[in-house]
C-alpha cells in the first residue's frame, strides 16, 4: 500500500535534508496508524451487525459439506480438510497427513471415502490429497479458493473444522472472528478459536472462499494460526505431483522459505537498527545499502528494534521487492530491496 506521504517523498527527490525531515519523521508512523484505522471495519449499529450475520448464515450451508474430517487408518488420529474442486482435490495441513499414503475422509453427514495423499510442504504446513471414487465422473461438494495475500487486518472470517475429532451427531462447529496478524511464510492469525482436530480445516472470507488452512494455536485465545492459501498456490503443481519437502520451523520468523536481503545488523546506543555488514552480491548490496545505514522503515512500518525488523522482513514474500526507508547520516533514502529465499541465499 502506498501512503500519500511516500508520494511526497518521491516528488521532492530521494534526498531530503535533515531539517525538513524532522516533521516528516514524526508523521510517518502516524500515517500508518491512520491507514490501519481506515481498513479495519467498525460496527456502527445492529443493522450493520445483521448484515454481517446474514452473510455468515448464507455462507455456512454452502461450504459446510466440503469441510471434511481426515482420519489416519493406522493410528485413528484425525484432523480436518476442505475440498476445493468438484473432482475431489483436498487441501489440508501437512502435519495431519504426515507418514500417510492413504487416509479415510469423513463427510459431515457421517459418510466415508478414501483419499490418496499427494504432496506436502512442511515449511508451510501445506498438503494436498485426492478423493478416490469408483465413479470417475463423481462430482464432490467443494468450496472455491480465495486469496490470503488480499486479506486485511480486521477482516471478518469464518472457521470450520472437526474440532476434537469427528462427532456424528454434530456438524463441524462454526467460529466467527477476524484476521489479527499477517505472519511469516504466508501464515496468518485470527481470533476464530481453534483446537486439536481443527488442523487442516478451512478459514473462509465473507465471500465463502477458502483463504487459509488451520495450522496451530498459541496460549492466548487470540492466537489461532492458519496457512494462507496463496502459499498453496505458489507450490500448487509440486503439491499436486506428489512432492514432499520442507520442515516446520519452531522459530516463528526464520525458516528455509523466509526472505533474506543479505545484511548483518546490530543496535546503536540509541536503540536504532544499524547495518554492520553488507554481504557481497546480495540483494541489499545491489539496492545500494551500505555499512552504517540505519534501517528506518520496512513496508511503511517504523523499525524500532531488531525484533521489529525481523518481524516486518519475514512477513514479506521472497522474490518480491521490499520497500525500505534507510537513514544515512541526516538523510532518509527510500529503497526497494529484493529478497531471496533463505535456502537459496545460504546454499550449502
Amino acid at each position: 500500500m502506498n501512503l500519500p506521504i511516500y508520494l511526497q517523498f518521491k516528488q521532492t527527490s530521494l534526498l531530503i535534508g535533515c531539517l525538513s525531515i524532522a516533521t516528516t519523521l514524526s508523521t510517518s508512523p502516524l500515517s500508518a496508524q491512520q491507514s490501519a484505522q481506515d481498513t479495519i471495519p467498525k460496527i456502527s449499529n445492529t443493522d450493520t451487525l445483521k448484515t454481517l450475520q446474514n452473510s455468515v448464515t448464507e455462507i455456512i450451508p454452502k461450504v459446510m459439506p466440503a469441510t471434511v474430517c481426515i482420519v489416519s487408518p493406522r493410528t485413528g488420529a484425525s484432523g480436518s480438510g476442505v475440498i476445493v474442486d468438484p473432482k475431489g482435490l483436498i487441501l489440508t495441513a501437512s502435519h495431519v497427513i504426515e507418514g500417510e499414503e492413504e487416509v479415510t475422509v469423513l463427510f459431515p453427514d457421517g459418510r466415508q471415502q478414501t483419499a490418496k495423499i499427494l504432496g506436502a510442504n512442511f515449511t508451510k504446513d501445506a498438503a494436498m490429497a485426492q478423493l478416490v471414487s469408483e465413479d470417475a465422473e463423481k462430482l464432490w461438494p467443494y468450496a472455491p479458493l480465495g486469496s490470503s495475500d488480499d486479506l486485511n487486518i480486521g477482516e471478518f472470517v469464518i472457521a470450520l473444522g472437526h474440532s476434537e475429532g469427528f462427532d456424528p451427531v454434530r456438524t463441524p462447529p462454526v467460529r466467527f472472528g477476524r484476521i489479527v496478524s499477517m505472519n511469516a511464510t504466508r501464515f496468518l492469525s485470527s481470533d476464530c478459536a481453534l483446537i486439536g482436530g481443527d488442523s487442516g480445516g478451512p478459514l473462509f472470507n465473507l465471500k465463502g472462499e477458502v483463504v487459509a488452512i488451520h495450522s496451530s494455536i498459541g496460549r492466548s485465545a487470540m492466537a489461532n494460526n492458519h496457512a494462507g492459501v496463496d502459499g498453496f498456490k505458489e507450490d500448487w503443481e509440486e503439491l499436486k505431483s506428489g512432492k514432499i519437502w520442507g520442515s516446520l520451523s519452531m522459530h516463528p520468523f526464520v525458516n528455509s522459505e523466509s526472505p533474506v536481503v543479505g545484511f548483518e545488523i546490530s543496535t546503536t546506543q540509541s536503540g536504532e537498527v544499524i547495518v554492520v555488514r553488507v554481504i557481497q552480491g546480495g540483494p541489499a548490496e545491489q539496492a545500494g545499502i551500505q555499512n552504517g545505514d540505519i534501517i528506518w522503515e520496512v513496508g511503511n512500518e517504523r523499525i524500532e528494534s531488531n525484533h521489529t525488523l525481523l518481524k516486518e522482513l519475514s512477513r514479506h514474500q521472497p522474490g518480491k521487492p521490499i520497500e525500505m526507508v534507510i537513514k544515512r547520516g541526516d538523510v532518509l533514502l527510500e529503497l526497494a530491496v529484493n529478497s531471496l529465499k533463505r535456502s537459496d541465499f545460504y546454499k550449502p
Binding site: P29, A32, Q33, A36, Q37, I40, P41, K42, I43, S44, T46, L49, K50, Q53, T57, I60, P61, V71, T104, L106, G110, R111, Q112, I153, G154, S163, F166, P168, V169, R170, T171, P173, V174, R175, F176, R178, V180, S181, N183, S189, D191, C192, A193, L194, I195, G196, G197, D198, I217, G218, R219, S220, A221, M222, A223, N225, P252, F253, K311, R315
Partner: protein, 412 residues
C-alpha cells in the same frame, strides 16, 4: 468470536502488551482491533439495555457467582456455581433493592437451579421479550447482563443436540478396522447387547443398514450413533455366503471413559477458564462465545431480541453451551419442576435483605445440612439416599477441583 482482550478495553491506551502466541501483531493494529471489538459490544448495547430486566447477578457476599434468568417460576441459574453458597445467595431487583433468595428446585441433568423470586420480578420474565427464537447456525447471539451490557458475543456453532452418549444408539459389535472388502466385518459381539440378542456373530459382514450400503467401519459407527437409543433398524448381512436381513431395536451407548486425551485437555483450557460442570447435558446448543463461568445462568438473545436459551457452561477454548429455549419451556412447566434435593421454600421466603452489601450472614440462619437428609416422614428412601450420596460426591468433587485449581494458581 471477537475477543476483547488484545489489551483490555478499559486500558485501550495502556502500554502495548505482547500477546502470547502472536509475535506478528502490530501495536497500532492491535489498538484498532480492540476498537473494532468494542464497536460490536456498543452496537448491541441498546438491545442489551432493553433486555436487562430479564437478567440478575447471583451473589454471595457481594461477589457474583453466576447470572440468573428471570422466568415466571423463579430465577433460573447454574446450580454448580451457586450450590456451595445456596443458603446465603442474594440478587438485586430492578429497583436496586437487594433480596435474599433460596433454591426452590434443581434440574440436575441440566445443572440448573430455580431460585425463589418475588412476584414483581417474575412478572418481568423472559416471555416479556420478543418471544422464543429458533436459532440458525451462524446466527449472532449474546448474554444479556443485569446492567444492560452484553456479556459475551458469539455465533451459533452447532444446532441443539444431546451431549449424552447414552442417547446414541448402540448395536454392540466390535468392527474389524483392517477389513478392506465390501461392507463391514464383525470381529466380535458384546454380551447382552442388541447384536448378541439378534445372534450376530464374529465374521458376519454387515452390508446395509436400513437399505443403505456401507463403505466402511467408521461410516457404520457414525450411522448408528446418529440414531437414537430405541430406534428400529433393518440390517442386511452376509454369513457363509448367505445374505440375511434382520430387524432390531437398538440399545443405548454405554458411557465410555472420557476420551479427551492429555493433549486435547490441555488445549481446551488454553485461553479459557472452564466451568466446573460442562458436559453430558441432554440438550444443548453450541456457541463460540467466550463465556466466563460467572456469566453462566444468564439469558441468551439473538439480534432480534428473541430469547434463545440460558448460557450453561464454558466447555473449552472453542465452545460454550446454551440450554435451548424450547427445552427450558418444557423443563419449567410447573409439574416438571419437582424439587429433587433442595428444600422447597415458599416464594415469599425471598425476604428482603436489610443488610449492607458484603455483611456476613449470621451462621444460625444457615439451614443445617442434616435437614436435607431427612424425608418428612423421617425416613430416607433408598433412591433418595442414593441421589443424596451422588449429590454429596459431586459437591466434594467440585470442592476438590476448586482446591486443585487454587493450588495450581499459587504454584504458577
Amino acid at each position: 468470536m471477537i475477543f476483547l482482550g488484545l489489551s483490555l478495553v478499559g486500558s485501550l491506551h495502556a502500554q502495548f502488551q505482547p500477546v502470547d502466541g502472536l509475535p506478528f501483531l502490530r501495536e497500532h493494529e492491535s489498538e484498532q482491533l480492540d476498537k473494532q471489538a468494542l464497536s460490536f459490544y456498543q452496537a448491541i448495547q441498546p438491545l442489551a439495555e432493553s433486555l436487562k430486566h430479564t437478567s440478575v447477578g447471583i451473589e454471595h457476599r457481594g461477589r457474583r457467582l453466576a447470572l440468573g434468568t428471570v422466568t415466571s417460576v423463579g430465577v433460573v441459574s447454574k446450580w454448580s456455581e451457586v450450590m456451595r453458597y445456596r443458603d446465603t445467595l442474594t440478587y438485586r431487583l430492578p429497583t436496586g433493592e437487594r433480596v435474599r433468595t433460596r433454591p426452590i428446585g434443581v434440574i440436575e441433568e441440566f445443572d440448573l437451579v430455580i431460585l425463589s423470586a418475588p412476584e414483581e420480578l417474575k412478572s418481568l420474565d423472559i416471555s416479556s421479550s420478543k418471544g422464543m427464537g429458533d436459532a440458525q447456525i451462524g446466527e449472532f447471539l449474546f448474554v444479556a447482563g443485569p446492567g444492560g451490557e452484553a456479556h459475551s458475543l458469539g455465533v451459533v456453532s452447532v444446532a441443539p443436540r444431546s451431549l449424552r452418549e447414552s442417547d446414541k444408539a448402540y448395536l454392540g459389535v466390535v468392527m474389524d478396522m483392517q477389513y478392506a472388502g465390501e461392507g463391514v466385518r464383525i470381529r466380535g459381539v458384546q454380551e447382552g447387547t442388541t447384536a448378541a440378542k439378534a445372534d450376530l456373530r464374529a465374521n458376519d459382514i454387515v452390508l446395509e443398514i436400513n437399505g443403505e450400503p456401507l463403505k466402511g467401519a467408521l461410516e457404520m459407527g457414525n450411522i448408528l450413533q446418529q440414531m437414537k437409543a430405541g430406534s428400529e433398524v433393518t440390517i442386511r448381512y452376509q454369513r457363509l455366503q448367505q445374505e440375511q436381513e434382520i430387524n432390531l431395536t437398538l440399545g443405548g451407548r454405554p458411557q465410555f471413559q472420557d476420551q479427551a486425551q492429555g493433549r486435547i485437555q490441555k488445549m481446551q483450557k488454553m485461553g479459557a477458564t472452564l466451568s466446573k460442570v460442562r458436559s453430558d447435558f441432554p440438550n444443548a446448543m453450541q456457541s463460540d462465545m467466550p463465556l466466563d463461568p460467572e456469566d453462566c445462568g444468564g439469558p441468551v438473545y439473538n439480534l432480534e431480541g428473541e430469547f434463545l436459551g440460558i448460557a450453561i457452561a464454558r466447555a473449552s477454548r472453542t465452545k460454550s453451551y446454551i440450554i435451548p429455549a424450547d427445552e427450558l419451556a418444557e423443563l419449567l412447566t410447573p409439574q416438571e419442576t419437582t424439587p429433587s434435593i433442595a428444600e422447597e421454600v415458599e416464594p415469599d421466603a425471598a425476604n428482603e435483605l436489610n443488610e449492607e452489601e458484603g455483611l456476613p450472614i449470621a451462621k444460625a440462619e444457615i439451614e443445617p445440612e442434616r435437614a436435607q437428609l431427612v424425608d418428612p416422614e423421617g425416613l430416607v428412601s433408598p433412591e433418595k439416599l442414593h441421589k443424596l450420596i451422588e449429590q454429596k460426591r459431586k459437591e466434594l468433587m467440585l470442592l476438590e477441583q476448586e482446591l486443585i485449581e487454587q493450588q495450581g494458581r499459587l504454584n504458577h
